[in-house]
């Protein structure tokens, strides 16, 4: 499969090689004197990472420098979120992608690939003592396996019919595996070496298949790609590439293949056999997945609100009527939760507290959002409580009611009437904020949309459908809020 894919890459490159007159990609880079390459520092060692003094290190930094040198320009790194590298490349944010970027079916045809600069294995990591399955494709069927979005491992797992758990960073899949939240992690051997080894209870089960990293350029930038490919070929021939890899300790026997991968005509498959499977069509099965995503969004939002509403009310009453210490505590809660990003709170709750609190991703999402929104509901409820005239409390007290009784019977019922329209608006905001829980592997509506967009290479239809589903959920709520306000 890999060989066939490589053939396909070069077939496309070969067709594109007679650079059209309009292709000034190489000339532009040369006249600018800078080759801009995109990557994500979150990928970390040994790819590209930043030292405390700000300088960049990693084998891809050395590689970019060597290639730029051969083009007679200098190189410039551009930080970009890994999951949107292709989109940014197409927008022209940088000239090439050079960041552990695997040649996959979906990407071939969308971008131009160079010859590979690294051969890796997709490594299956498990907890010690795992005996239920082996490192083969059929054995992965139905297993809960963690990996990174838009990676070759993701394609592999999809093919194997595994239950895929998606992460944004390299550390989290292994942390979750160690916590017993998944059965295994399938990721590139370089990543497994660096990140799995930090967890004592994890071992390598075996390698499932091979893949390659290559440099990607825009589809129309054939002239630039030919030049880069030549430069890379020279680095392979002179052994400079192997020296760069050896420097960070990732040169292994597999890299012997780098030379032959550069000559697809020498391979066994003929060009005629190569055919692109192309992007998926957006169809009914996507629609069903979107509905499921909307269901998750609604579930997370409703349950989070079921926490936020009473907790917020409790906090509000502690602030307005509690003892001084209770009031201070409630104020501190509100300030902390409103003053820090909910994204950070979700990370801390799910990953940071994992050794102490065992919580599933969905539970963590609901609890995390619920506790965050409780801070906002506290403010909404407080405004509601303060809107009840003072005389109501005095009348209740004069009749011999205790403060808790007066709150329960007299103040809160009236405060809720004031607060309800705002609570409904807050719920609409919560519905949208719930998309943030995808960082802790919950696949809700927005995540479903980004996955489908990568699969179909189209943002328009999935985006429109996603928006429509959000509107279907939020418009009735907005109407309810208006009705409540009018009363």
């Amino acid at each position: 499969m890999l060989r066939r894919l490589l053939v396909l890459v070069f077939a496309i490159l070969a067709v594109a090689t007679p650079a059209s007159a309009a292709d000034e990609s190489l000339a532009n880079v040369k006249s600018r004197g800078v080759l801009k390459w995109g990557g994500d520092l979150q990928g970390g060692e040994p790819y590209v990472s930043q030292k405390p003094d700000g300088t960049l290190v990693g084998f891809e930094v050395d590689l970019a420098r060597a290639i730029a040198k051969r083009l007679g320009v200098r190189d410039e790194f551009v930080q970009n979120d890994w999951s949107t590298l292709v989109a940014s490349l197409e927008r022209g944010t940088f000239d090439i992608v050079l960041n552990g970027f695997e040649i996959t079916r979906e990407r071939v045809g969308r971008v131009l690939f160079s010859r590979p600069y690294y051969v890796f294995a997709e490594r299956l990591t498990v907890r010690k003592g795992e005996t239920r399955f082996k490192a083969t494709l059929p054995d992965l069927h139905g297993r809960r396996v963690g990996t990174l979005a838009a990676s070759l491992a993701y394609d592999t797992l999809e093919e194997a019919g595994a239950e895929i758990v998606l992460y944004e960073g390299q550390e989290e899949p292994y942390a979750d595996l160690a916590q017993g939240r998944t059965d295994a992690v399938l990721l590139d051997d370089i990543i497994a070496q660096r990140y799995a080894s930090r967890h004592e209870g994890l071992v390598t089960l075996g390698d499932v298949r091979e893949g390659v990293y290559a440099i990607a350029a825009r589809r129309d930038d054939a002239a630039l790609m030919v030049a880069i490919d030549d430069a890379l070929g020279e680095l392979v021939r002179t052994g400079e590439l192997r020296r760069i890899l050896a420097k960070v300790g990732i040169d292994d026997k597999r890299e012997d293949k780098l030379e032959s991968y550069g000559h697809p005509s020498g391979g066994s498959a003929s060009i005629g056999e190569a055919r692109s499977e192309g992007p998926q069509k957006f169809g009914a099965h996507h629609f069903v997945l979107f509905l499921q995503g909307a269901g998750v969004t609604l579930l997370v939002s409703l349950l989070a609100m079921a926490i936020a509403f009473p907790l917020g009310l409790f906090l509000a009453l502690a602030r307005t009527h509690g003892a001084r210490w209770a009031s201070r505590l409630a104020t501190t809660y509100v300030e902390i939760y409103r003053g820090t990003p909910v994204l950070l709170q979700l990370y801390v709750l799910y990953y940071g507290l994992a050794p102490i609190v065992k919580m599933g991703a969905l539970t963590a999402a609901i609890v995390g959002l619920g506790m965050n929104y409780a801070a906002y509901e506290a403010e909404t409820h407080r405004a509601g409580v303060l809107s009840v005239p003072n005389g109501q409390m005095e009348a209740a007290r004069a009749l011999g009611m205790s403060i808790p009784l007066a709150l329960r019977r007299i103040i809160v019922p009236q405060a809720l009437r004031h607060a309800l329209p705002n609570v409904t608006s807050d719920f609409i905001a919560l519905l949208k904020d719930s998309s943030l829980v995808s960082v802790i592997t919950v696949v809700e509506l927005t995540k479903r949309m980004t996955i489908a967009s990568v699969d179909t290479r189209d943002w328009l239809i999935p985006g429109a459908l996603c928006a429509a589903l959000y509107l279907v959920m939020s418009i009735p709520l907005a109407r309810i809020a208006r009705t409540l306000e009018a009363r």
């Binding site: 005389g391 009749l399 011999g400 205790s402 007299i410």
Partner: protein
């Protein structure tokens, strides 16, 4: 029944301290209607609020039926139930109907059964002439109706002492006469009443004893005629 002894209350306003109540002493016997006279700002409302337990005071003692208010918390709650307060702006519970307002404290505080509380509330609303408005919300009641429901609400706890703050301010003359009769009936039934008012004709009609407050001190006591002239 109600004994107020050398009550003083300090209040800080714009950085300066002053005594809003400066040694008030007065006694009101059982079944007596006592009129607390004086211009606004002389401390009438403050005194009522202190006696009903809504505000604390710095010195002195208030006794109801011989028990001192504010000696300890539990006693305070028990005694406070024996003192009813009708506010000038009546402060009916806005989210409840008239009869629910009257039933609320008997059910929640005195732990009466709902049926007993309803019977008591219906009887009071009947006596006060607002039984036909029992299911109306406070916002739907006229000033006079709201005033009567508020009195019924306070009376439902069967207080020994009922305090009323400017009960005639929202009423036309005809209604005022009705309130006069109502208060006389309550006094006849054994309730001690203290009425803070600056409505002299009303005080003359209703009260057998009166006191004049000036700058937080009781400056004169006697009948209304003795204090304010015929």
């Amino acid at each position: 029944m109600l004994e107020i002894e050398r009550v003083r209350k300090r209040r800080t306003q714009n950085g300066t301290e002053r005594w809003v109540l400066d040694g008030v002493t007065l006694n009101v016997g059982e079944g007596v209607i006592y009129a607390l006279l004086g211009e606004s700002g002389t401390g009438k409302s403050t005194l009522l609020r202190c006696v009903s337990g809504l505000e604390t005071f710095d010195e002195g003692v208030v006794r109801v039926g011989g028990s001192a208010l504010f000696e300890n918390r539990r006693l305070q709650d028990a005694v406070r139930r024996r003192v009813g307060l009708v506010f000038q702006q009546h402060h009916l519970f806005a989210h409840m109907t008239a009869i629910e307002n009257v039933m609320e404290a008997p059910v929640q505080v005195a732990r009466l059964s709902i049926e007993d509380a309803r019977k008591r509330a219906e009887k009071l609303l009947e006596q006060l002439g607002v039984a036909h408005r029992r299911d109306a919300r406070p916002s739907e009641l006229s000033g006079g109706e709201a005033q009567r429901v508020a009195i019924a609400r306070a009376m439902a706890m069967e207080p020994a002492v009922l305090l009323l703050d400017e009960p005639t301010s929202a009423l036309d003359p005809a209604r005022r006469k009705g309130v006069t009769e109502l208060l006389r009936d309550l006094a006849k039934g054994g309730t001690t009443l203290v009425v803070a008012t600056h409505d002299l004709p009303f005080a003359r009609d209703v009260a057998s004893r009166a006191g004049m407050l000036e700058n937080g001190s009781l400056v004169r006591e006697g009948t209304v005629e003795e204090i304010a002239g015929p």
